[in-house]
Structure formats: structure tokens, C-alpha cells
Amino acid sequence: MLAPTGPEALAEVVRELGARGEAALVRGAGTELPQGNLPRSVAAVLSTKALTGIDVLDADEGVAHVAAGTPVAALREQARSEGLEVPLDPPSPASTLGGALAAAALGPRSLGFGRVREQVLGLEVVLGSGERTRCGGRVVKNVTGYDLAKLYVGSLGTLCVIEHVWLRLRPLPEETRVVAARVSGGEEAPAAALAAARLAGVRAAALIDSSLTAELGGGLPEPSRDGHLLIVEMASDAPVVAQSAAALARRHGGVTVPAGAIDAVAALEGAADDARHRAALRFRVTARPSRLVAAYAVLRAAGALVVTHPGLGLLCARFTCAVDEGAKHVDDAFATAQAAARAGEGSAVLAAAPDFARAGRDVFGTPPASVALMRRLAAELDPKSVLNPGVFVGGI
């Protein structure tokens, strides 16, 4: 494993790999679940774990400059001591900042925080071609030059290795409260949940199928059989939280539950498989808000266990299969997820699954027509495919 300790050493490693015609798998803490396509052959693992440190945490300005290998949790802790929040919600608390940006996955709290791309003010990166470059800056508003950061965020470690980040921070909310409510079964549940997600001050809202609630741990109301549990986190000024909590109590009989409930939901989606012989196939399906109900119905009819994030237009669907059932089951699950995506007018991605389920397929499904431009972009910035070859859309 290569773990350069500084930006110049990182650039040197990338240049050497390129010169030798070799490729590397880029890793943060290595905590992220296996994502993207299985990589084509790589000679080494390139880790950012030795690139750590919070250089700037400017509370007056509400920004931080952080090395990419820094765990998000470490930044969160320091920011909290200054009354600030890190508006990122990566799947694992141990995720590094670089990993969280490269994956750019939505977490439940993305509803309140906004997308990962909106939090990134500037990036210093090492391109696949070996140059150290930067884009953006430390200020909160900036149109100086092309917005390359948008491309690096969500690039799954292709194009470049993120080395440093200028990140926007937000003030901590005055009050945070989590409310859970039983929502009767039936396909209209996502529509009711959407209305709840749109109440003022809501930071996260998840609708959980009854058969998944057992995994959430204690302190929550029992869902009625075949019903759902709606978990809503509010984070705002105290009067706003009180008002929205009252609305949830009126509409759904919602009660206050332990503050960690939303973290439990996130953990539910990120949990590793528990049984040795059964594998979980985790899909992320997006849908227009007005089509959530339709997308949800397709997934449920096929027996998937679903956590719906109505405010994000996101359905996290889990299929379980026996490992020895192999590829056939994966094909069926993929077909279902794609049918749901069509119903939702969104897209479906096999977000996490064991290697056997990812082998020989594009987990992103059929690439969009713009994949030709994406290939050109990769060819410009990482012409020798040094970084994470094959893991991205269309096998980029």
C-alpha cells in the first residue's frame, strides 16, 4: 500500500504509476463499502490516510481547510466546539473527507444540508496525469474560472486524488429533535412522508418498511404489521422545531424518540452483511417526488426492503439472496430496480454488493448518452487511467 505523507509525495506517486503504465486503487480510510464497478487490474492501493490535518477552521467565516485523509468525524468534533456543523452525511462516521466527497453519496441529512457539491468551496487535487492543481477557493461565493470541483465531487476516485478541501460549515441548530410515527401501510405512504419531509426545519425524513424496523434498535414505536415507521429529524430554531413536531403529532401521532434514530437509519443502509451465506444487494433508486409512490410500488411488489427518503427523491432498496444462487438473482433484482427507476423517471444504481454480484456488470446500469463526454473528460485528466480504472460509469 502506498500512503504518501504530503501533497508533493502524492503527486510523485501518481506520476510514477503513470510512467510505469500502472494503476492504483484510491482509498480513504477504507471504511467505505465497496462502491462502483470492480476495478480493472491495479498494481497498488493508494491511500490518503497519511494526509491528515485541519489547517484552518475559521469560525468567523464558517469555512475549514482540511487534508483529504482527515476523518469527517474528527472535523465534526472540532467544528462543534466552535458552534459549527459539518454539512456532510457520509455512510460511515469513519469516512475520510476525501472519500465522502469522491463518493458524494446522499445521506438522510442531505435533505437539510444540501448535496455534497454545495458544501465544497475549493479543492486541491492531483490529477491522474500527475499535476497538482486547484480550483475554487476559500470564499463562499466564487465564479472565477470553471467549476471543476463539481466534476471531482462524485467522481469515485477517478480523474484525480483529492488532497485538500475548502469546506463550508454551518451554524449548529439551536434544537434538534427526532420524532417517529407509525404510518399505515399501503402505497400512498411515501406521499404522506413527502409532506412530512417538507415541513419547516426538517433535516432528515425516512420512511422505513416494517420488516426493517427491528434492525433499528430500541426506543422506537412498534410499527403496525405491514405498516411503516416514519422517522423525522428536525434541526432548527426551537420554535420551528416545536411547530413541526406538533404538526407531526397531529397528522401521524408522532412521538419524540432518542436522538440517534436517524444515525440508526443511516447505519441500516450501510451495515455489512451479517450472515455468511446470504448477501445483500443494495440499490439506490431516484425518483421524481411526484413519482415516488410508483417507484416504491415496483420495489415492494418484488419483495425488496425499502427505506424511502421522500425529500431527497431517493429509495434505498435491499434485496437479499443466497450467495450460491449467484448471478441470476442479481439480474432479477437489477431488473426490478431499473423498472422502479423507470416508474420514478429517475435512475438505479447497485450501490453496494459483494464482488460476485458486481462481477461482469456495470453497477450504474446503461450509461446516459452523455457518457461520451465523460469518457473524453477522463481521457483529458487521467489519460493513462492511473486512478481507479474501470470503477466508474460505463467502465471509465
Binding site: 454545495e118 470564499v139 417526488p289
Partner: protein, 483 residues
């Protein structure tokens, strides 16, 4: 500039119709500049297509004739982005001004690029929705221009610049190919090419359709007007509000000179002429949250030297407060024939010292410099009133401009927050970026437009194309209106 070849004119007419092509000198004259009047470039022709197909046909015609093209919206840009270099054809999107769809459940609108910013919010109003980016030019500027410049406005502080509101675009590339990027549901797999197109200043092709998010109209709004003895204490007030963890919808400062100009104009808002500066602070959101926030802002302004804080009692008074801000540029027309609206950003905590230094630069060059700006974002707009026929004054204006940009960069800032680089600031890009940084941008451009035929001569540092774009070489030279 050579007159356009008749072959080019014929090809454009075939592409978009005979009534869609302007080519006579008198017709082209108005396209020589945008709202940054001291940079000019005359196009070979102007074409006004109605559909994406026609745009593609126009672009293809340009390709065949070997001429570059420049997309144009309303021409309100402030960095010379929409002016034509190298005999380019202007593709003006004014006729593509239809709102194709508003979906109140998805909170999404699909529009053509020539739709005027304010028209979209008006059309969304019956659904209690609006398009949040609100440039001060919103009664005129177009969505295509907003996308190209990643425009902001007073309410960017809370809602973010245009990029945060664009879900998908359709683009005609310089090759004539039509591509769709992004998706309405979001989360489309792949690189965020939509994010790269926003802010690309017309150099990636012509945007022919935009899918944007619409934002709920807030339940309640409170607008405060705080009177400060000087602009520096107003900046301290802004710093205190940000540090206190409040997130107002807008925090705008108007300085003494601007107040004087506004009060002498049709936009007069009844501001005290002895005020050193006013801060307009707007808070919006759920009604239950606002009373306490209003009190906190009031207290923080007082603690930082505000002599008086008024809270708008009704919508009419709110509009009166905003008139001082929104009418500022118009009012400055009274001060001198030309206005150079600068645009730079510094960390908000640096505003007091930077503002002081900016004013000192203006004074040192003997210029009329006023400030009206998005203080909450640290986004400065030092405005210099001048007369470009006065060569010496123009020279001082440009010298002061470079000093201001250098000052902002030294303070940890950048050289544009919302107006773009265009033809105005390209030679300042090396203040912020190394050759390798710029090369990464060139490589991105090559993905969309390898032959650099869409809006050439912008953004990247370059030796000037021709004497026409050299501001020092141009006074009020007139073109003849021959047919």
C-alpha cells in the same frame, strides 16, 4: 471588422429563417458590447433562432463557414462575456423565451434559455414557488445568461447561486451535436457535467433548455434597515451577524455615495443623507422563527454602531428599503456617463479592512467610487463612475480596478463572485491560478469544444484578439448607419 460574407448570411438564413438574421452595420452596433461598456467587439452577424433545432443548424452553419459563435441572452452581463471576438456570429436566445413546464409537486420548471429571470418567478407565484437566484438585473437578464455566469443576487446568501438550482440542461455543442446533461430526479450516474456547464460563460456551447428547481416562497419575511455612521462599522455589523450563527436571506450594504445618488434619482427611498452606510438585512422562513431573529439582528447592529434600526412594517415599506439597493445601478447613471461595476469576493471577516483599502484606492486615483454590495457573502461591488471619453480618467479607472483585484486576492479572496471573467478579467486569472490550474480548465473546455469555437477569447489569459477589444483604444467612436 470585415463585413460578413454573403455565404454566411445565406447559411444562417437557411438555418433560422430570413427574418432571424441581422447583418447591417446599424443593426450590429447594439451588439458591440454588453453592460460592461468599455469592452467592445462587433459580430459578423446576429441570428435569433426559435428552437434548439435552429440553434443546432446555426452552429453547424458557423462550423461550415469556419466562424466562431457567441451565445447571448439579454446582454446585461458585466464582464464582456457576450461580445463577439474574431468576427463571431452572435446567437441570441431572445426568441426562445417559453416556459415549457412548471411542476408544483416536483418543484421544478423546464424553460427555454431566453426566459427572463423575473418572468419565471412570476409564473411560479400561483404555486407559492419562485426561482431563488435574483440578480439585480432580474427584470431583464435571461436564464441562459444566469446559467452561463452562475449568477447570484441578494438572496444568494441563504439560497445559493444559480448552480444550486439547476438540475439539467440541454446543450448544443460547437460540433452541432445536441446533448442532455443531468436529470430532473437528480442522482443521474456519472460526472456532474451539468455542474461544469453552469458558470462556463458560453464557452461549452449554446444552452437550449434548462431544468431548474423552484423554491417555496417563504411563509414570512422581515426586512431591517440599519443606519451606520460609516461603511466599516456596517461591515462589522455583518461580521457579527454571521458569527452569531444567523443565516439571513440577504445582507446588503449601500454606502454614502450610493445613497446620495439614489436619493437624487427616481428610486429615492427616503434614506438619511447623513448616513455613512445602510445595511439591509432580510430574514425569511417560518413566521414563528422570525421575531427572535429580528431582535438579534437589531441588537448586533446596535452593538456595532448602528444609530438606528428600522423594521419594515409592511410590503410597501419593504419595497422602499429594497429600492435603495435595486435602484442603485440605475441611479448611478446620474453621476457620470459610464459605470464600471467591479465584482470580487473576500472572506467576510476581512470586509472592514478591505472596504477601507478599496475606498483609499479610489481616492488615490481621484475617482468617484461607491459601494453597494452583497456583504453577507463577502461579495464586493466597488462601482467607479467615469467618462470613457476622458482617456486619462479611463486609465486611472483601469489602474484602480487592478489594484482592487490584487487587494482582494491578497486578502484570501477571488476576482469574481457572480459576474464572471469574460473579456474583462482574463488577464488577472494568473493572480489566482498556476499554469497547471489553467491547463486543467483548458482540458475541460476541450471536452466540450475542442476547436474553441464557442465564445472564443474569453476567460483564459490571452494576448488581445484585436484593437477593438482594447479599451484604451476606444472612445465614443461611431459607426455609420449605412444599410
Amino acid at each position: 471588422m470585415q463585413p460578413a460574407s454573403s455565404r454566411l448570411i445565406d447559411a444562417l438564413r437557411a438555418a433560422a429563417g430570413a427574418d432571424a438574421v441581422l447583418w447591417r452595420a446599424g443593426e450590429l452596433f447594439v451588439y458591440e458590447c454588453d453592460a460592461l461598456t468599455h469592452h467592445t467587439g462587433r459580430p459578423a452577424a446576429v441570428v435569433l433562432p426559435r428552437t434548439a433545432d435552429e440553434v443546432a443548424a446555426c452552429v453547424a452553419a458557423c462550423a461550415r463557414e469556419g466562424v466562431p459563435f457567441v451565445p447571448r441572452g439579454a446582454g446585461t452581463g458585466l464582464s464582456g462575456g457576450a461580445i463577439a471576438f474574431g468576427g463571431a456570429v452572435v446567437i441570441e436566445c431572445a426568441r426562445m423565451n417559453r416556459i415549457l413546464e412548471i411542476d408544483p409537486v416536483d418543484r421544478v420548471a423546464v424553460v427555454q434559455p431566453g426566459v427572463v429571470n423575473a418572468d419565471l418567478s412570476r409564473a411560479a407565484a400561483p404555486f407559492d414557488l419562485h426561482f431563488a437566484p435574483d440578480p439585480s438585473s432580474q427584470q431583464a437578464c435571461t436564464l441562459g445568461g444566469n446559467v452561463a455566469e452562475n449568477s447570484g443576487g441578494p438572496h444568494t446568501l441563504e439560497y445559493g447561486s444559480t448552480t444550486a438550482h439547476v438540475l439539467a440542461v440541454e446543450l448544443v455543442l460547437a460540433s452541432g451535436e445536441r446533448v442532455r446533461l443531468g436529470s430532473r430526479a437528480g442522482g443521474e450516474p456519472g460526472y456532474d457535467l451539468t455542474g461544469a456547464v453552469v458558470g462556463s460563460e458560453g464557452t461549452f456551447g449554446v444552452v437550449t433548455e434548462v431544468t431548474v428547481r423552484l423554491t417555496p416562497v417563504p411563509e414570512a419575511v422581515e426586512t431591517l434597515l440599519a443606519i451606520f455612521p460609516d461603511v466599516v462599522s456596517a461591515c462589522h455589523g455583518v461580521g457579527a451577524v454571521i458569527r452569531a450563527g444567523l443565516v439571513p436571506a440577504a445582507l446588503e450594504i449601500v454606502d454614502r455615495r450610493t445613497i446620495a445618488a439614489v436619493e437624487a434619482s427616481v428610486y429615492a427611498a427616503g434614506l438619511p443623507l447623513d448616513a455613512g452606510a445602510v445595511l439591509i438585512a432580510e430574514l425569511d422562513g417560518p413566521a414563528v422563527a422570525l421575531p427572535r431573529q429580528v431582535e438579534r439582528v437589531r441588537t448586533l447592529c446596535g452593538a456595532n454602531g448602528a444609530t438606528r434600526v428600522e423594521v419594515a412594517r409592511d410590503a410597501a415599506e419593504r419595497q422602499r428599503f429594497w429600492r435603495a439597493r435595486k435602484g442603485a445601478f440605475g441611479a448611478m447613471g446620474r453621476l457620470a456617463p459610464d459605470l464600471y461595476v467591479h465584482d470580487a469576493v473576500v472572506p467576510r471577516s476581512k470586509l472592514p479592512e478591505v472596504l477601507e483599502a478599496v475606498c483609499a484606492i479610489g481616492d488615490r486615483h481621484g475617482l468617484t467610487l461607491s459601494n453597494v454590495f452583497h456583504a453577507g457573502d463577502g461579495n464586493l461591488h466597488p462601482n467607479i463612475s467615469f467618462d470613457r471619453r476622458d482617456e486619462d480618467e479611463l486609465r486611472r479607472v483601469l489602474a484602480a480596478g487592478s489594484e482592487i483585484l490584487e487587494l482582494c486576492v491578497r486578502a484570501g479572496g477571488v476576482i469574481s463572485g457572480e459576474h464572471g471573467i469574460g473579456a474583462e478579467k482574463q488577464d488577472f486569472m494568473p493572480l489566482l491560478f498556476t499554469p497547471d490550474d489553467l491547463d486543467a480548465m483548458r482540458r475541460l473546455r476541450a471536452v466540450f469544444d475542442p476547436e474553441r469555437r464557442s465564445n472564443p477569447g474569453k476567460i483564459f489569459p490571452t494576448t488581445r484578439f484585436c484593437v477593438e477589444s482594447n479599451p484604451k483604444a476606444r472612445g465614443y467612436e461611431r459607426v455609420s448607419f449605412d444599410p
